[in-house]
């Protein structure tokens, strides 16, 4: 469990940790949308600065954040290679050619941007989970989705399902370890080089895992039932989320930052500052 970096809370105290989860969730959503809108290196540079500031403010060790990128290394490398090799640019952008392989200058730009985009997409939400406990997270989601109750979306149940799922992930990982050990003791081999054999060797682990998940689900349902859980109706909260000054400040900053990015990217006021005139604007 302990080497799964994404989706893991990093327990320190910081401004980022103390922000209201709703603000953080909204900020991440805005951040993701922004990533899809911008496509210039100058805006990516701005984004990098912004992320660095967030990471420094969160007191999460930067190395730990970088580690969350470990599992997408292959994805990034693959994307870059594919873009480089199969990009069809204008003839005057052609840099280098060998047999059917053609490398264009625009292809290099585009693949770099793609790689940056993927990495930004991972790091942002990771920062959210690093600084927000699962409980706060589901709480925030529930509150943010509250308007959907009007059209009869079972918001409370969705949030409850989410928090139970998050809570049970480590339990299931632990359980899987145990079952794996038990089957290893019976001579099972999970490290076969042959990928098919390896997949089949997991059957004796997955079946008991499913069985025990159902058993656990049943037990949990009984336990909730016996404590009179009846869903959202008449349920109050122990910790009520309240927006404070720093949350409003964060929202303002986020709005300003968003505006900055779009400005950098789309060069809104060429009369004021003309980013496109910069020689390295691509």
């Amino acid at each position: 469990m302990r080497d799964i970096a994404i989706g893991q809370y990093y327990p320190v105290d910081s401004v980022m940790h103390r922000l209201d989860p709703r603000v953080k969730i909204l900020a991440v959503l805005i951040y993701i949308v922004t990533i899809f809108f911008i496509d210039t290196f100058i805006a990516y540079g701005g984004l990098l600065l912004f992320l660095t500031a967030v990471i420094l403010l969160s007191h999460v060790p930067p190395l730990k954040v970088l580690k969350s990128l470990r599992m997408i290394v292959y994805l990034v490398v693959f994307t870059v290679l594919i873009t480089l090799l199969f990009y069809n640019g204008k003839p005057d952008d052609l840099l280098w050619q060998w047999w059917i392989v053609k490398i264009y200058r625009t292809a290099i730009h585009s693949s770099l941007k793609m790689a940056l985009r993927i990495m930004f997409l991972i790091v942002g939400p990771t920062m959210l989970t690093f600084t927000t406990t699962p409980v706060a997270l589901t709480d925030g989601v529930e509150r943010l989705l509250a308007p959907l109750k009007l059209i009869r979306v079972p918001v409370h149940s969705i949030a409850m399902i989410m928090s139970i799922a998050l809570r049970l992930i480590p339990t299931l990982v632990e359980e899987m370890d145990k079952i794996k050990n038990a089957q290893k003791a019976r001579g099972a081999d999970f490290d076969s080089k042959n990928i098919f054999k390896r997949a089949i060797s997991l059957v004796p682990v997955l079946i008991p895992l499913f069985v025990s998940s159902f058993r656990r689900a049943n037990d949990l349902a009984d336990a909730m039932d016996s404590r009179c859980y009846r869903g959202a109706k008449g349920r109050t909260r122990m910790k009520v989320l309240r927006l404070t000054a720093k949350d409003f400040a964060a929202m303002l900053i986020m709005a300003a930052v968003l505006f900055m990015f779009l400005w950098l990217n789309f060069n809104f006021f060429p009369g004021l500052v003309d980013f496109r005139a910069l020689p390295w604007f691509v």
């Binding site: 302990r2 145990k178 079952i179 050990n181 038990a182 089957q183 290893k184 003791a185 019976r186 001579g187 099972a188 081999d189 059957v203 004796p204 682990v205 079946i207 008991p208 069985v211 025990s212």
Partner: protein, 288 residues
């Protein structure tokens, strides 16, 4: 085929900030014919220790030698796991196959035995745990009762014919009768396995079955005792915060009420016999 452990220490999550030492400089030897009980409070490292015997935990520091094979060097995993069988806590949660037969055959199959040998071993193992072979072999293990499932799971380990059998709380979660039956079965395994190691929190079981007891405390071996030596020593027991087996408690209570039974047995039958003798003697004495 002795198991020799020397200077064994073990850290969980080594080299991370969660690093936690679970074993400190453990050393002892288990010899053929031993029925070793390992007792100690929860978290004292019992499971961590025994999972070294079949290399589920790799040796980090110190040595573990099983039948001449040094587990801190390179060795043949399969051969080791054929030799050392391990029944985990709640083994019934590891059943997975369609039928009891197939599930029990999983281990022998992994050893690469041929079909005929597998069939012989599976049948013998299922009978050895006291299940009706013809009635259960084609049934789904998930249809069995809790006690039957546990037996089927134990059969899955026995079918590998281990020379060393390790049991981690084999009777946990069973009713008193189920506990007794499982313990009786385990006594029966002594004919097949040269060494049996049992972790248990139930001192009655340990007292009645083990030939030697190792007490663990916070990752260290606190002591290595003969059963009588441990369980009749009240100071030692209270220092170790270990319950007294019912037989000893009963002997003491009886003695407080005027009997003078010798405090040297852990066998209920012996106690009963002595008690009957004492009562008879009293009555006889009264009449004379």
């Amino acid at each position: 085929m002795p198991v020799e452990i020397r200077g064994l220490s073990y850290d969980y999550d080594q080299k991370t900030k969660f690093q936690k030492r679970a074993l400190f400089d453990i050393g002892f030897t288990v010899r053929d014919g031993d029925f070793l009980g390992i007792v100690g409070h929860t978290g004292s490292g019992k499971s961590t220790l025994v999972t070294h015997f079949n290399a589920l935990n790799r040796v980090q520091q110190g040595t573990v030698v099983v039948d001449g094979v040094d587990l801190s060097q390179k060795f043949d995993y399969k051969a080791l796991r054929a030799k050392v069988g391990m029944v985990f806590q709640y083994p019934e949660y590891q059943l997975f196959d369609e039928t009891v037969y197939k599930d029990v055959a999983f281990g022998p199959k992994n050893l690469g035995l041929d079909e005929r040998e597998i069939a012989v071993r599976v049948e013998a193992a299922i009978r050895m745990v006291g299940l009706d072979y013809d009635a259960v072999k084609e049934r789904s293990p998930f249809e069995l009762s809790g006690g039957q499932m546990r037996r089927a799971a134990i059969a899955g380990v026995l079918a590998m014919r281990p020379e060393i059998l390790i049991l981690d709380e084999p009777t946990a979660g069973l009713d008193p009768r189920g506990k007794r039956e499982v313990m009786r079965l385990i006594q029966g395994f002594r004919a097949m396995c040269k060494i049996i190691v049992m972790i248990s929190h139930n001192m009655d079981e340990v007292a009645a079955n083990c030939s030697r007891i190792i007490v663990m405390n916070e990752g260290r071996v606190y002591g290595d005792y003969a059963p009588e030596e441990l369980f009749h020593n009240e100071e030692l027991l209270s220092a170790l915060r270990i319950d007294m087996p019912a037989v000893c408690t009963l002997t003491r209570r009886l003695n407080e009420r005027g009997f003078s039974l010798p405090e040297d047995t852990l066998d209920e039958a012996v106690l009963l016999e002595r008690l009957v003798g004492a009562v008879r003697a009293k009555r006889g004495g009264g009449h004379a």
